[in-house]
Amino acid sequence: MLRYILRRLLQAVPVFLGTTFLIYFMVFAMPGNPIVALFGDKTPNPAQVAALEAQYNLDQPFFMQYLLYLKNVFTGDLGTTFSGRDVNTVLADTFPVTLKLVLMAVVLEFFFAVVIGLISGLREGKFFDNASVVLALIFNSLPVFVGMFLAQYFVGIKWGWAPVTVGRDTSWGAMFLPALVIALTIYVTGMRLMRGSVIESRSEDYVRTAYAKGLTSRRIIPVHIARNSLIPVVTNTAASFGALIAGTTITEGIFNIPGVGNTLYQAIIRGENSTVVSFVTVLTLLYVIVNILVDLLYAVLDPRIRYV
């Protein structure tokens, strides 16, 4: 186990170096003056230009620039945002909100995947199954911002069941609607895994034996069928947790949720490119870290993985 953890962490080193290099390269090896590009269509203010030049060490050769930038990232110095706030402070304020939203979305996703997948699998080929497969396909194709707008318009504006935007109030209730929409657009994969393995385990010998022993469906479905079908769904949910940590930019923007994604969204809208780069770096690193944790979780859950 320890060897597996060490190997997985070692594998992450080139990924860390590579991703930061790629992001840095995309910005600073582009033709033209990168500082001007970081300002977008804004007029650079000399003090900010000087601060950026110092932050990115533009007097050094390209490779040295990258190494110094890397040193900053790994010592936790992520620079400042356009309005002059420390990126670390902004993260400390916003990350808990994003985490809350993502946790809620993932729990709902897991619930939908398990319940709908189980019923679908038990009634394979019947009306509920066909309807849920088609519905899942539609939800899956719905671009996330279209889903958000539909929810915002009908639930928020027309029926008035929920606040149109979240704003300052980041309670569980206020963020329920965006979390629900996220869950609806991603539960499909988990539902299919559940449905597939329910169908498979229904024809297993141990299920037939259980029926032959005289057990009722009320015991066989939860104990023999559902429990054995859960592992792939758990794994899939964990993976979507990682993807969501880095993927709530548009959701948080539309619902004005004060999380990490919204900070990025506002920076994009205002063309504050240096802030965009900082936060994309942060989100990418978070994504990599969460994925390592998820891999380690698999190893705990499934002993076979350790020997691969």
């Binding site: 990924v15 790629l22 671009p143 279209v146 548009i250 539309i254 809208i269």
Partner: protein, 314 residues
């Protein structure tokens, strides 16, 4: 020597039996993976639905004037801002007073161009990367797979955000396609690599090497064509995903220039008036969703049709 070979047992040739076997075979329909898949697809109504939508979108992209006579940006008048539908303008007007229907029709070209370009870029980078890594193995595999891992570890939408933010002066169909496809190829490379790894030890590949074909020619001639099944599925679904990515980037204001007819741009501009004029937001969203749905549905149906296990279950 001759004594020995005479001891070999040779089965008596029973010609009748052979003929019977052949007769049975001849009566059977020819069968291979693609033929079976095609037969399966032809029986599924959803396949025709998806195909029709794709065909209509493709027609609108190629000849938008078939569907609308109104030039998309010509008769915009602010006096018509968010006006309702009237004769000749069935879907009403945008905030700038342009005809919604005409912009939606012309937007198909943008979306489809981006989708196809992204698929092309993804395939051109992803297939060779995955195939070479899987087939040659060893050091080559380690290097190519690590490069792939790096690209795979940056969510491609975030990468595209950085590229498009920095390229403020060069936001067009080509750059946006490279921004999306330049990072989306990594997952395709993984799929191709896995498929090539599975195929490269099968008998017909060994046979090809045994008869003297070079390694590279074996890869191109035998291994690649047989590993294309998951590639086609992934690319069809990827086309839908690329259209969403373009719309999302345009929605964020870092996609295509606002003068370009794009569903993402229209959605972005109409979102401000979601309370007062929801229909201007609704129409481009609807066309975007239906198009994406058609491509994803097509991909999934092909995947199902190519999977004999899934076919048997139905």
């Amino acid at each position: 020597m001759s004594k020995r070979s005479s001891e070999h047992y040779v089965a008596p040739v029973d010609e009748n039996e052979q003929i019977e076997v052949d007769a049975v075979r001849l009566g059977d329909r020819r069968s291979n993976l693609w033929l079976d898949a095609w037969r399966d697809l032809r029986r599924r109504p959803l396949f025709y639905v998806a195909l029709t939508i794709v065909a209509v979108v493709a027609l609108a992209a190629a000849w938008p004037t078939l569907f609308t006579q109104v030039a998309p940006n010509n008769d915009c008048a602010l006096s018509l801002s968010n006006a309702g539908p009237e004769a000749g303008h069935p879907l009403g007007y945008t905030r700038q007073g342009c005809d919604v229907y005409s912009r939606v029709v012309w937007g198909a070209r943008t979306s489809l161009s981006v989708g196809m370009l992204v698929v092309l870029i993804t395939a051109v980078i992803g297939i060779p990367m995955g195939a070479i890594a899987g087939f040659f193995g060893g050091k080559v595999d380690s290097i190519l797979s690590r490069i792939g891992d790096i690209f795979f570890s940056i969510p491609y939408f975030l990468a595209a955000i950085v590229v498009m933010s920095v390229l403020a002066d060069h936001r067009n169909v080509l750059t946006i396609s490279f921004a999306i496809g330049g990072f989306a190829w990594a997952s395709l490379a993984r799929i191709v690599r896995a498929e090539v790894l599975r195929i490269k030890n099968l008998e017909y590949v060994t046979a090809s090497t045994a008869v003297g074909r070079s390694r590279f020619s074996t890869l191109v001639g035998h291994v690649l064509p047989n590993s294309l099944t998951p590639v086609i599925v992934t690319l069809t679904i990827g086309l839908g995903a690329a259209i969403v990515a373009e719309a999302a980037l345009s929605f964020l204001g870092i996609g295509l220039n606002t003068s370009v007819m794009s569903w993402g741009n229209d959605i972005s501009q109409a979102q401000v008036t979601i309370k007062t004029a929801p229909m201007a937001l609704f129409w481009p969203s609807l066309f975007l969703t239906i198009t994406v749905l058609a491509f994803i549905m097509l991909g999934e149906l092909i995947r199902d049709a190519l999977d004999p296990k899934a076919r048997a279950r139905r």
